[in-house]
């Protein structure tokens, strides 16, 4: 063939997803669909109090409920040294309490019964006496002298967990002093919850050989297996974690929750399989939260509008234990990406963490380790600085961006950005939305006293954790893996260490392998999530699948190609040096019609004697990325604000993303549209507030406000492509960019609309009553 041959389902093609076939038929296999003979059901007694001593716990009435088999308490677990477990940040967390509850909704006891209804009856029949204790809700008050000390069990004398800092404190202070203009903002990024539509759950089974199998809603099955082995003392070969279809993860299915452990204990004690599926209230009141950062940021600039320095002081509310899902060396995650898209000469960031009577967590909410907190802060302050200097915010950014020729770029806080063209993305977004016309319209509306605003966010992400040198979780290095096997007829099975929760791995990984192996993606099966079959990996979160396992898949395919080239050489009776991989097949250099396809080579690999080579055609790769990847984008949002009611309407939202080389454009668009919606939600609607008594005020979807199709803006998306220089095929990862970048654009737009009132900040979510208050307090003044 003359022109280069494209392989069906290769990189860059928008093929429909392979996994859809089962989902559209209602044949997905989620944890709650697992049904085993003799299976029992676990339900949990939860604490109504945020902080209380348990003075009595009586099981009798519950054990008398028809169908109830067992009631498991903290005392029972303590006897087996299982009342406490380690968190991912090496803090300690209760599985079940022995004497004190630390937050409302905490698991207090487990009831095991023959069906869910009986289990619920049993939960209602467990009698617990509490003596309420003083509640610590505000992290600032938590650190004041005389505040009740929550973790005396750890020998602590106060509620301070850790202090972490990075950057040049003295140089930053000096630079700020010398800056012509300095602005300062206090930003609170409230507690939110990922609320995947599928809650968490598991089915635990111990077989006759004493092997424990747990079907679990987890994004990181291999790491979970190791943690279970370390906590329970069971040999790791006797533990099998299966992560079946997952109904959304977004970071919430990374941690180990008490319910999982109690279910395993229940299976061990009853000798029967036990299913635990939490209800939504349990999910919202006890599972890992995200954000909850109280940020104070200062930014300096010259009077002609060049950014000089950034200083950030943050207090993190971690609840009663630090159960954040961060790499061990980074207690505040990758928060120090906070210098964003700008070449600050110097910067300094410090974070302190505090205990409060709230559930533990600190997971990502569709973002890579505290990157949203960072991107929100820098893009909010850059916007405020532009307004302060009376320079158009777009012009201000274009003037300050790290220029394309500066990559690889060393940031003031120590990151090496791989590649970028920030001006290109912003200019494209401005063209798409008609930036200049919008500004004209806004000017006219202002004359008429109408409130319209335009906001920008030009964020830089940091994903793909990560280089093993810096990145580990509980000591487990954050490489990831792929094992690729070509069958004699040229069909492929590949297993990877990650786990899809809707991202479409069964399709995109097949596309990577199709491109690398010259085999149609229709004939490539992808498997993940079974620790007995898949190679070890750290799992899917932090947009790391494509940068790590995706890279591993390509590398494994290339290892296979190296061997296949030798086989092809034998088949074509030429020297391996005369073979080249071209147009997805092995060709004799300069003789295109003398060639072998991968399928022909595969057949030979199993059917003909190979000189100096083993039979078969497979390879494994454990990919340790040389650096992280740095996706970026520019978003522009236009809003109208109802002056009287404070209601905000997002009229338009243009998102231009650059995630490097794209594997499947349709899937990437889907990831961005979903990510934008999870950026809009916390900006406008979602929050888990606590009252002074520590009551969770958003314990159901009546109060925890997930946007419907009606509230969700009509997203407009665009792309630029700047490949990653160090990734095997130039990809960067895209799952979270939009969630990271969107909130600042929306808030900036609303504050732009409120400029006549001189408002410089409203903390998210921008509920009508907060916007109303901002307008009216200024009206009154």
């Amino acid at each position: 063939m003359a022109q280069p041959e494209t392989v069906h389902g290769g990189i860059g093609q928008s093929i429909p997803r392979k996994e859809d076939a089962r989902f559209i038929r209602g044949k997905g296999n989620y944890v709650d669909d697992v049904d085993l003979p003799g299976m029992l059901f676990l339900d949990l007694v939860r604490s109504p109090y945020a902080h209380a001593k348990i003075t009595a716990l009586r099981k009798e009435k519950a054990l008398a409920v028809p169908g109830v088999l067992a009631v498991i308490t903290g005392a029972d677990l303590a006897a087996a040294k299982l009342a406490w477990m380690p968190t991912l940040m090496s803090d300690t967390q209760m599985v079940l309490p022995t004497d004190e509850v630390m937050f409302q909704g905490q698991e207090v006891a487990g009831v095991v019964a023959t069906d869910r209804y009986a289990a619920a009856d049993g939960v209602a029949a467990v009698e617990v006496d509490y003596d309420p204790l003083p509640v610590v809700v505000d992290p600032f008050k938590a650190l004041e002298p005389g505040a009740p000390v929550l973790r005396g069990d750890k020998g602590k004398k106060d509620n301070h967990i850790w202090h972490w800092e990075v950057g040049d404190k003295a140089a930053t202070e000096k630079a700020l002093k010398e800056s012509a203009v300095v602005i300062k903002e206090r930003l609170y990024i409230p507690r939110i919850h990922v609320s995947s539509i599928e809650t968490c759950g598991c089915v635990a089974q111990v077989d006759a050989m004493g092997k424990l199998t747990v079907w679990m809603t987890t994004q990181a099955p291999h790491a979970i297996r190791t943690v279970f082995a370390l906590v329970s003392g069971l040999p790791e070969n006797q533990i099998r974690i299966i992560s079946p279809d997952i109904g959304g993860g977004f970071g919430g299915k990374v941690p180990v929750y008490p319910g999982y452990v109690i279910a395993v204990v229940a299976a061990l004690t009853t000798g029967q399989p036990v299913k635990w599926v939490e209800d939504r209230t349990g999910n919202l009141t006890a599972d890992s939260f995200a954000r909850d950062y109280h940020i104070e940021a200062e930014m300096g600039a010259t009077k002609d509008g060049k950014l000089t320095a950034l200083r950030v002081k943050t207090l993190a509310d971690h609840g009663y234990t630090d159960a954040a899902a961060n790499p061990s060396k980074f207690p505040a995650g990758l928060f120090h990406i906070i210098t964003g898209s700008y070449p600050f000469a110097t910067a300094f960031v410090e974070v302190d963490a505090a205990y409060t009577n709230k559930p533990p967590g600190g997971i990502a909410y569709r973002c890579s380790f505290r990157v949203t907190e960072a991107a929100y802060t820098i893009e909010r302050l850059v916007e405020n600085m532009a307004h302060k200097l009376k320079i158009d915010p777009a012009e201000f950014r274009l003037k300050n961006f790290i220029p394309p020729e500066a990559f690889p770029f060393q940031s003031a806080l120590g990151w090496t950005y791989d590649s970028g063209n920030y001006g290109g993305a912003l200019k494209k977004a401005m063209a798409m939305i008609g930036y200049d016309e919008l500004r004209k319209e806004q000017a006219e509306k202002r004359k008429r006293g109408e409130l319209m605003g335009i906001g920008i966010s030009s964020f830089t992400e940091i994903v793909g954790a990560g280089p093993a040198k810096q990145f580990d979780i509980l000591g487990l290095k954050m490489f990831d893996s792929a094992e690729v096997r070509i069958h004699p007829t040229g069909k492929v099975i590949a297993r990877l260490g990650t786990k899809s929760q809707g991202q479409g791995h069964e399709t995109t990984y097949a596309q990577i392998l199709a491109e690398e192996l010259g085999i149609s993606s229709d004939f490539i099966s992808i498997e993940e999530g079974d620790t007995d079959t898949a190679p070890y990996g750290l799992g899917t979160y932090a947009s790391r699948s494509t940068p790590t396992s995706g890279a591993a898949a390509a590398m494994a395919a290339r290892k296979i190609r190296d061997k296949a080239a030798k086989i092809a050489a034998q088949m074509l009776e030429v020297s391996p040096d005369d073979i080249e991989w071209k147009d997805h097949k092995f060709q004799v250099k300069g003789v295109p019609d003398k060639s072998k396809t991968m399928a022909e080579v595969a057949f030979a690999a199993y059917t003909t004697p190979l000189e100096g080579m083993e039979a078969g055609l497979e390879a494994v790769d454990y990919y340790n990325p040389p650096n992280l990847t740095f996706p970026f984008g520019s978003y522009i949002c236009a809003v109208d604000v109802d002056k009287e009611t404070g209601q905000v309407k997002v009229r338009r939202f243009v998102a231009v993303d650059d995630c490097g080389v794209i594997i499947n454009p349709t899937i990437v668009d889907g990831q961005i549209q979903g990510g934008l919606t999870m950026g809009f939600a916390p900006a406008m609607m979602e929050e888990i507030p606590y009252d002074a008594d520590g009551n969770n005020r958003a314990g159901s979807f009546l109060e925890y406000l997930l946007p419907t199709a009606v509230e969700t803006p009509k997203w407009e998306t665009g792309k630029t492509t700047t490949p990653s220089p160090h990734h095997p095929f130039g990809a960067k990862g895209v799952g979270e960019s939009a969630t990271v970048g969107a909130p600042a654009a929306i808030v900036n737009a609303v504050l732009d609309a409120l400029e006549p009132y001189g408002v410089t900040n409203i903390d998210i979510p921008l509920s009508a009553h907060k916007v109303w208050k901002a307008i009216h307090s200024k009206d009154a003044a």
Binding site: A120, R280, T645, L702, A768
Partner: protein
């Protein structure tokens, strides 16, 4: 979340239902759509000993305009109310509200009778019925009686309906020429209870002045509220901007909101003011033949 055990009855007649209620002496609940009740039972906040499912009773689902009144059967689904042509044409306050109750799927099963008798101040139809001057037909062991909507709501979940009575029909005085009505609901998202919501019906007489006015408020107090002073104020007015402004202030004075995630008291009172003014304007436009 799973409900506790209960007895279940599916009577075929209203009389049978009343007998069952009477015999359970306040421990039974009528099950119509159950879109609020079943949720509370799953939370185990409501634990009735028995449910009396009235869905098997024929002829309780209808919307008829009679000579003097629009009559709506208790089992009419709120989605049906939203689709009704006669309602849209002459009682649009109900179509407006029906489009805002919970979400489209819940409306397919939730009923008009359930919405008006549940007693949650967040239900949308009570304020409408107050604005329209509706009456509820309550049937009990001693026969039937009618209760004006404006006197039906006593406290959160506490109504004038006796434990052994079934609410079988809503009766709304027929809207004559020159009548216009509207409902505005400020909500945080689809499916939410109102931050504040206002129902208005008024009639513009021959002389061009208002000779009938009713204003009801949703979720700004322990019950739905009839804004009497604001309604009376409008009588005889032509509906100038200042009339509307004043009526808004009077309605706001009548509200007794509690603070919650939707906002503080002063905000909610101000929203009653704003939305009353806007909703009267909308109703007025409709009265004058606008859309």
């Amino acid at each position: 979340m799973y409900p506790p055990n209960f007895e279940y009855y599916a009577p075929k007649t209203v009389q049978e239902a009343i007998g069952l209620l009477d015999q359970h002496q306040g421990e039974a609940k009528v099950l119509a759509g159950g879109q609020s009740l079943i949720g509370m039972m799953k939370l185990r906040l409501a634990q009735p000993a028995a449910l009396i499912d009235i869905n098997r009773i024929p002829d309780l689902a209808y919307i008829r305009e009679e000579e003097a009144a629009l009559v709506i059967g208790a089992l009419t689904r709120t989605a049906e109310l939203g689709r009704s042509e006669v309602v849209r044409a002459r009682y649009p306050v109900l179509s407006d509200a029906a489009a805002e109750i919970a979400d489209p799927t819940v409306r397919n099963w939730g009923t008009v009778g359930g919405n008006v008798s549940h007693g949650d101040p967040g239900n949308d139809l009570p304020a409408c019925m107050m604005a329209l001057g509706a009456e509820y037909r309550a049937e009990g062991p001693k026969g039937a009686r009618t209760i004006p909507a404006r006197q039906f709501y006593q406290d959160s979940f506490v109504t004038a309906l006796r434990p052994n009575e079934v609410l079988t029909q809503v009766r709304i005085p027929r809207a004559g020429p020159g009548t216009g009505s509207a409902y505005s609901k400020m909500e945080r998202k689809v499916g939410d209870f109102a931050t504040a919501a206002v129902a208005v019906q008024l009639r513009v007489g021959k002389g061009g002045s208002i000779d009938l006015a009713g204003i009801g408020l949703t979720n700004v107090g322990p019950t739905a509220i009839y804004a009497a002073a604001a309604s009376e104020f409008l009588m005889g007015k032509t509906g100038t901007d200042s009339d509307l402004k004043r009526a808004g202030e009077l309605a706001s004075d009548a509200s007794r909101p509690f603070p919650d995630n939707r906002g503080p008291v002063e905000f909610k009172k101000d929203m009653v003011r704003v939305w009353t003014r806007r909703t009267i304007a909308h109703a007025l436009a409709r009265a004058k033949g606008g859309k």
